[in-house]
């Protein structure tokens, strides 16, 4: 299955969440690969704490592959290559976790027929070996999004499930922007239909992920003044209404990721150890990642929404 992560605006925590979801899914026993399609800024290596590729690889990454300079893009086994000792070595029962980084110094490039063909080939190639391929796009209407929309509409990928996760922060500006990216002019659905997708099928394969959400009832906010809490609750209600108007209502939401200081300070994989032993991350965050990882591939979760 292909899962494509996108957002309209930057700073939604899209990459760090999708990396964590990939990690969780691997822990749950699936073979997972993560493709860094953020071509303008290929830095997912940093989230997986793989220092040599923190700004992309020098060994032939996705940029080189898609432009036809190499036969296959470099693959990095995260379990083996990560610098974080607590993550190294694959836990029993866990699946493979592989990163396909972009090129160091790589930039955006426009889509050609050849690039589209190579992208399709790559997806077919990875589907042979992986249960889940997470494709992390850059923010907004990008060439990468166009490329993946076109590739998933190709004959070769018709029968393969692909699901879109649109990330947005829980703010007015982000809600409106995310809605625009999906439903707006030259948005995912319109652009997808032009490239051969069935609009309804495509719309059914899109869900939203709210990130950095402040829960006004949470313990962390216990120190707030009652007026602040009332104000937060009002805002939240307004946002719910706004989201509903923009077709981002609760039924369209696959997961809500709470605000977590660890993710704010440093974008990284959050291990169970970070929660239980060193207690630097919140259990609620890990629970949200874990749940998102399960729901991504759970047909029932998508049907019932």
């Amino acid at each position: 299955m292909l899962v494509i992560a996108t957002s309209d605006k930057g700073g939604t925590g899209r990459s760090v969440t999708s990396c964590n979801v990939a990690y969780r899914r691997a822990l749950q026993g699936s073979d997972v690969c993560y493709l860094d399609f953020d071509f303008g800024s290929p830095t997912s290596g940093a989230i997986f704490s793989i220092d040599p590729v923190s700004r992309g690889t020098e060994g032939g990454g996705l940029h080189s592959y898609l432009q036809g300079k190499i036969a296959e893009p470099q693959r990095i086994d995260v379990w083996r290559q990560t610098d974080r000792e607590t993550l190294r070595s694959r836990p029993p029962g866990a699946g493979r976790l592989v990163l396909l980084p972009g090129d160091q110094g790589g930039g955006e490039f426009s889509m050609t027929k050849d690039i589209l063909q190579r992208c399709t080939k790559l997806f077919v190639r990875l589907l042979e070996e992986f249960d889940l391929c997470v494709v992390d796009l850059s923010a907004g209407r990008s060439y990468a999004a166009e490329l993946v929309l076109a590739a998933t509409a190709q004959q070769e990928l018709r029968g393969v499930p692909h699901r879109w996760l649109v990330f947005h922060r829980w703010t007015r500006q982000h809600v409106i922007a995310a809605s625009g990216l999906v439903y707006g002019r030259r948005g995912l659905i319109e652009a997808g239909a032009e490239r051969g997708h069935d609009s309804q099928v495509l719309a059914d394969s899109i869900r939203f992920v709210r990130t950095a959400v402040v829960n006004p009832d949470s313990e962390e906010l216990a120190g707030l003044r009652p007026t602040q809490v009332v104000w937060l609750l009002d805002c939240n209600k307004d946002l719910q209404e706004l989201a509903r108007q923009h077709q981002l209502g609760r039924t369209m939401v696959l997961a809500t990721i709470p605000l977590d200081p660890v993710l704010q300070m440093r974008e990284q994989l959050i291990s169970d150890r970070d929660v239980w032993a060193s207690q630097i991350a919140n259990a609620a965050t890990v629970a949200a990642f874990d749940q998102l990882a399960r729901r991504i591939a759970d047909d029932a979760a998508w049907d019932e929404l």
Binding site: D31, V124, E128, D131
Partner: protein, 338 residues
Amino acid sequence: MPSPARSDAGGDGAGILIGEVHTGLLLNSASLRQDMLPAVLGLLPGERVRSFERPISHAVSPELLVGVDCDLSTASGTRVRGIGTLAVRAAITGGRVLQGSAWTRLMGGHAEHRLPWSHYLARPGVVETVGRRRNHPYHADLADGFLDRTNNRKAPGIDFGAICGQIMGEVQRSPYLDRRSPFKAARTTLRWVAEESPERRIGFILGDDGSRTTRITFDGQPISAVIELCEDLALHDWLLSTLLDVIDRGMPSDGPHETMMRRIRPAVDHLIHLWMPGARVVESLLPLWESLDTKPGFTRQWDTLVNRIRDQLALRTLTLLSASAEGVPGRNEQGIRS
């Protein structure tokens, strides 16, 4: 029947054969039916897909050629330029396992410089080295250089991996496949060298990341027989590796029954009946297979794994039966733990 790699070229006898076999899972929900094989493997219009039904369904695409002109890998780091063609084909076994197999024969060429391309196309499946060289140390240098994947001094050489990957990709993207395989499996790659020698030898090295190397000798057998032996070896090594992986992950002893079944079932349904070592190997090369089967003992390991799976399944079934006999209300399979 002449094999495509047969050639009149070369000033140094038979040369050496080098090749690579990549093995993976065919991207289809069901095992591919025998009558679909010609459509899926018909990669060269006008040429027949050869198919076999006994003792196991097996089909081979026509051989395609790929042109190269590059420095070959040598163990010593000496520069040797090779020009010519590789033969490459795809094969499907049991309607389930896909292989990409590429090979060429390295031979000393006559010329000090590159000849017109038609000269090389007249010797399909032969790569000629440029410039005259003496026979033996030179062959060993090329063979060692090819098999050693870690030597940084050497030229990258011919990219067999890309060539095998290309043809496998072409099959996997066939409109006749639905690309919904019941499980996922990593590919393995077998890199091989074969030299003509009256002395019977075979070596097999298991590397990281699914990479294997083998070195064999043959004595008068046609090249096609040597290639088939290597493909058969690669197929069984992949079956074993894949089953090991399935068991590694599917049999943590405390997992829920349903999870275990989800992981083990595909192996039972799709892989176990494919084990048939030497099925297509010519008799005179069978002793090579047999010696590998003695040490490290492929079949022994396979049998052990299969028995383990059967035992587990039998055990789980028994547990299930006894649970249902107790008639616990509201309990389903998922809730039962061993």
